[in-house]
């Protein structure tokens, strides 16, 4: 740690100074270092980062100085004569001991101070009072489960027109967390590997199916912190933002209450026997579709051929037989074009997905949402079938699909 003190004079970090001097004129606001930490862990990491950067910068300057001096002085064109005995001298005899000892000294300085920080980061306190959030990675969205509060938040990227300047870094539902509270995160995945990364919190952990790993943080200021999935997870890896909104513990309690009320209202509504009007279903269906389906099938229903089919009758879908055959079997594909199959098959695809393709089951949606989505899809973008699907129809389809699955 003595070494640390003597570098303190280089307050801003030599490498950074050099870099900003190079980059400064064109881009005064371009970020060239970590964002301002918002937790103790992130601050520890930032300090280690600056320490290693300063040490390596000084070493680099020393080595470059020696090489540059040699390049200038020991050149044939200046009349230098090679010293044919240098590799036989005393330094040559002992350099293989001296140099490793020097490098080892630097290594131990770095590793020693990293070791303390590592302990604090790695050993998650076993404390009953901690707020526990389970973070589940999905292709391609995040699910946040507040275990004690019994709240579930699904967080999906907003389309560009809504995200604005936070293009690819804004979501429909943020991960709301209280400040000055010890939070334990439990990480896992529902499908392929993902990684949860919020630079301001100094947190990055892989989400791996079959594993539950932990991290922890105490957020020390309010704010919105943006990160994104850091492990390649397939097609829309670039569209998995993580947006944390840190608010005071008091506000957080209020938020939890509010979410609970909203959930209760939604549940009651979905469970009621009410028969919905077509307009109401289309209205709800548009929101639900934009949230759950538009990532692949797009807001305009045109899909992204050849990966994701359009949902508009008459649209061509030039894709491989792996994708078109299951569609044709269900009556949604004919002669290279999309057609609209029956309501029963439509609901079955939503509830059970199409095994072997990217279409996953959406059985976790409530009956009202599924009914609304089906109604919307069958009436939007010129489909105009006039079909109205009621929650009761979904309930029947659910029972039918369970029977089918059981066989």
């Amino acid at each position: 740690m003595r070494l640390w003190g003597s570098w303190r004079a280089l307050r801003q970090g030599g490498l950074l100074c050099l870099a900003s001097a190079l980059a400064a004129p064109a881009c005064a606001e371009m970020q060239i270092n970590f964002p301002e930490p918002a937790s103790a862990g992130a601050r520890d990491i930032y300090d280690i980062h600056m320490l290693t950067m300063r040490i390596t910068f000084v070493l680099l300057v020393l080595i470059y100085a020696v090489v540059c001096y040699s390049l200038f002085v020991h050149r044939k064109s200046r009349g230098a004569v090679a010293d044919q005995r240098l590799h036989l001298g005393k330094f040559a005899r002992w350099s293989w001991v001296l140099v490793p000892i020097m490098v080892l000294g630097v290594d131990l300085t770095i590793a020693g101070s990293a070791e303390n920080v590592l302990h604090r980061l790695w050993l998650v306190p076993k404390d009953e009072d901690m707020l526990e959030v389970k973070v589940v990675g999905h292709q391609w969205w995040w699910e946040y489960e507040y275990l004690d509060q019994k709240l579930n938040v699904e967080s999906r990227a907003l389309p560009p027109e809504k995200a604005g300047e936070h293009y690819l870094r804004e979501v429909d539902h943020r991960l709301v967390l209280p400040t000055h509270t010890r939070i334990r995160f439990l990480h896992t995945s529902a499908d392929v590997n993902h990684a949860f990364w919020v630079p301001e919190l100094g947190m990055k952990k892989d989400a791996i199916a079959g594993y539950v790993t932990e991290t922890w943080a105490v957020i020390d200021r309010e704010g919105v912190f943006r990160g994104q999935c850091a492990e390649l997870c397939g097609t829309w890896h670039a569209k998995m933002p993580v947006v944390v909104e840190a608010i005071s513990p008091e506000k957080f309690s209020g938020w939890v209450e509010e979410q609970r009320k909203l959930a209760a209202v939604a549940a009651a509504e979905a469970a009621s026997d009410k028969v919905w009007s077509k307009e109401d279903l289309i209205e709800r269906g548009r929101d639900a579709y934009n949230k759950s389906c538009a990532a692949c099938h797009q807001l305009d229903g045109k899909g992204l051929p050849p990966a994701f089919p359009p949902l508009i009758a008459g649209q061509p879908f030039p894709a491989s037989a792996d994708l078109t055959k299951p569609l044709a079997d269900r009556g949604f594909f004919k002669d290279g074009k999309i057609v609209l199959g029956t309501v029963e098959h439509h609901l079955d695809i939503i509830l059970r997905g199409i095994p072997g393709t990217a279409m996953q089951p959406w059985a976790q949606l409530n009956n009202l949402d599924v009914a609304a989505i089906a109604t919307y899809e069958r009436n939007a973008w010129g489909n105009d079938t006039g079909d109205v699907v009621q929650p009761a129809d979904v309930e029947k389809a659910r029972a039918a699909s369970q029977t089918a699955a059981a066989q």
Binding site: Q31, F34, I63, K76, H87, D107, K204, H237
Partner: protein, 534 residues
């Protein structure tokens, strides 16, 4: 064809066998020089294929939004750029140089196992063909989705991919067998066919570098092969090695992959460092400083490099004890690497340097690779790595390590030995132009990526937030300069093959070693009488 002319000068030589001609000379070749040439032509073609993919990637990333490549195709380019550069360009080029130079350097008539030599090249070519099939098959109707996993091929994602993944798995098998056969050949050659009097500790350092490399390859390739075989079984035969739902473990594949993947870095690096260890003494006009410690450093790099693979997986949730071990082990690699770099610098020190193209590349390697070593230490330190991991900082780091550490070393070798291979001097002015354009392009491409990573841009994303625009543009402009300037390389090589100032046997004023005692170009069969080393 340029390749045939290389050996037109050999005809006057007095060899014992008639030299085969036409396609038989190449397809059935058992000659170390011809096979070496084949390896290097293959590598050059692959370098430009992989380079073209890099250009597509940088064009897509020039600004936010998806303009050129759909996400899966983009991920496929990222995957194949890496695979082609590692398995198609750098490893074959280094193997080609080993083939050409090792018999010359140790005073042998040829490689010890010439037919095996032929087999290992043509298996490589078959592997290359299969890799191209893997890229093209998704474009055929019914061909499934492209490999979009990155070169690490992590399951479960790699279990979702279409048949292009199966072709890739077989590619890896073929390339692995090819590398192992080539390594066996090199080890046997180095142990058994050295000239009388050349003890192991008198062996040229390039041979030592390849000795370590060959042992590494034999040790690590089976790990990768078993990993991808299990992947194949999971995909088609109902096993669950990597499927948690069936009792398997997705992380197991990561361990198998990096047990291969980390030493692979040194497989790419060491031959090039061996080349630098020849070039620096030649152009400093004095012997290599610390021959023994350089050999020791190379062996230590190989040995420690085998034991630190999981530093690529700090974020998977290993125990504190495990990550601490991998951190300390990784940091310790800086000791042999530092020693090796010091030996290079001390060789320059109080020399009489001149700056021909190979020396320019060697100096650039020393400076840039040292820089990559520094970011390497930063990455080894876990708290820091929590932020750098899977960000553009990593992309910048390993391109700084592998482009100077591996590719520029091979470039240096090409310029250093081209007069020996062809009998003509290359165009020094063009060589220097090539060097400077390459340096400007390379640094402009990869230096800004450090900042992107620190600011929070993850790697392997097809599209990014607006705050990352400026550095990405800068990086793409650098990449285009870098890419276009590489066209000079084949131009220089073809020009040299066609003619130019005749090269002497010694070629360079202060070159030392058996390879410089034979005429340029050397006869078809290198040494028919073993030279005696005192």
């Amino acid at each position: 064809m340029s390749t045939v002319t290389v050996h037109d000068h050999d005809v006057q030589d007095h060899h014992h066998h008639a030299m085969p001609s036409g396609w038989r000379r190449w397809l059935l070749s058992t000659n170390h020089k011809d096979i070496g040439t084949l390896y290097m032509i293959f590598a050059l073609v692959m370098l430009f294929t992989g380079g073209f993919m890099a250009m597509l990637i940088r064009a897509e990333l020039f600004m936010p939004g998806i303009q050129l490549l759909q996400p899966d195709l983009y991920n496929n380019m990222v995957t194949n750029h890496a695979l082609i550069m590692v398995f198609g360009a750098v490893m074959p080029a280094a193997a080609g140089m080993a083939n050409w130079m090792i018999p010359l350097m140790i005073g042998a008539p040829d490689m010890a196992l010439p037919r095996l030599n032929n087999l290992s090249f043509w298996m490589l070519a078959a592997g290359g063909l299969l890799l191209i099939c893997s890229i093209l098959v998704p474009f055929v109707p019914g061909g499934g989705t492209p490999v979009n996993t990155g070169w690490t091929l992590y399951p479960p994602l790699s279990l979702q991919v279409g048949m292009s993944m199966d072709l890739l798995i077989f590619t890896v098998h073929l390339l692995g067998i090819s590398s192992i056969l080539a390594s066996i050949n090199i080890i046997v050659t180095l142990f058994n066919t050295r000239a009388p009097g050349m003890t192991l500790m008198k062996m040229p350092i390039f041979c030592w570098a390849w000795m370590v490399t060959a042992f590494l390859l034999i040790l690590i390739m089976p790990a990768l092969a078993s990993g991808v075989t299990m992947l194949l079984f999971d995909r088609h035969f109902g096993t669950s090695f990597f499927n948690a739902a069936g009792g398997g473990d997705p992380v197991l594949f990561q361990h198998l992959f990096w047990f291969f993947g980390h030493p692979e870095v040194y497989v790419l690096l060491l031959p090039s460092m061996g080349i630098v260890a020849h070039i620096v003494p030649t152009f400093s006009r004095k012997p290599l400083f610390g021959y023994t410690s350089t050999v020791g450093a190379m062996i230590s790099i190989g040995a420690i490099g085998m034991l630190v693979w999981a530093h690529h997986q700090y974020t998977i949730g290993m125990s504190l004890a495990a990550v601490t071990y991998f951190m300390i082990g990784t940091i310790l690699i800086s000791i042999p690497v530092g020693l090796m770099i010091l030996n290079f610098i001390a060789t320059m020190w109080r020399g009489a340097m001149s700056f021909e193209t190979p020396m320019l590349f060697a100096i650039a390697i020393i400076l840039l690779f040292t820089f990559a070593g520094m970011t390497g230490v930063m990455l080894a330190v876990i708290p820091g790595d929590i932020q750098y991991h899977d960000s553009y900082f990593v992309v910048a780091h390993f391109h700084y390590a592998l482009i100077p550490g591996a590719l520029f070393g091979l470039y240096a070798g090409v310029f250093y030995w081209l007069p020996k291979w062809t009998g003509h001097m290359y165009d020094e002015k063009l060589g220097k132009l090539f060097f400077w354009l390459t340096m400007i392009g390379f640094n402009l491409t990869f230096f800004p990526q450090h900042f992107l990573g620190l600011a929070g841009m993850p790697r392997r994303i097809v599209d990014y937030n607006l705050v990352f625009t400026e550095f990405n543009m800068l990086s793409s402009i650098g990449a285009f300069i870098f890419g276009v300037s590489q066209i000079l390389l084949p131009i220089i090589i073809i020009k040299t093959i066609r003619g130019g100032q005749k090269a002497s046997a010694r070629v360079w004023e202060a070159s030392e070693g058996l390879e410089w005692m034979l005429p340029s170009p050397p006869p078809f069969h290198s040494f028919s009488e073993p030279p005696v080393i005192k």
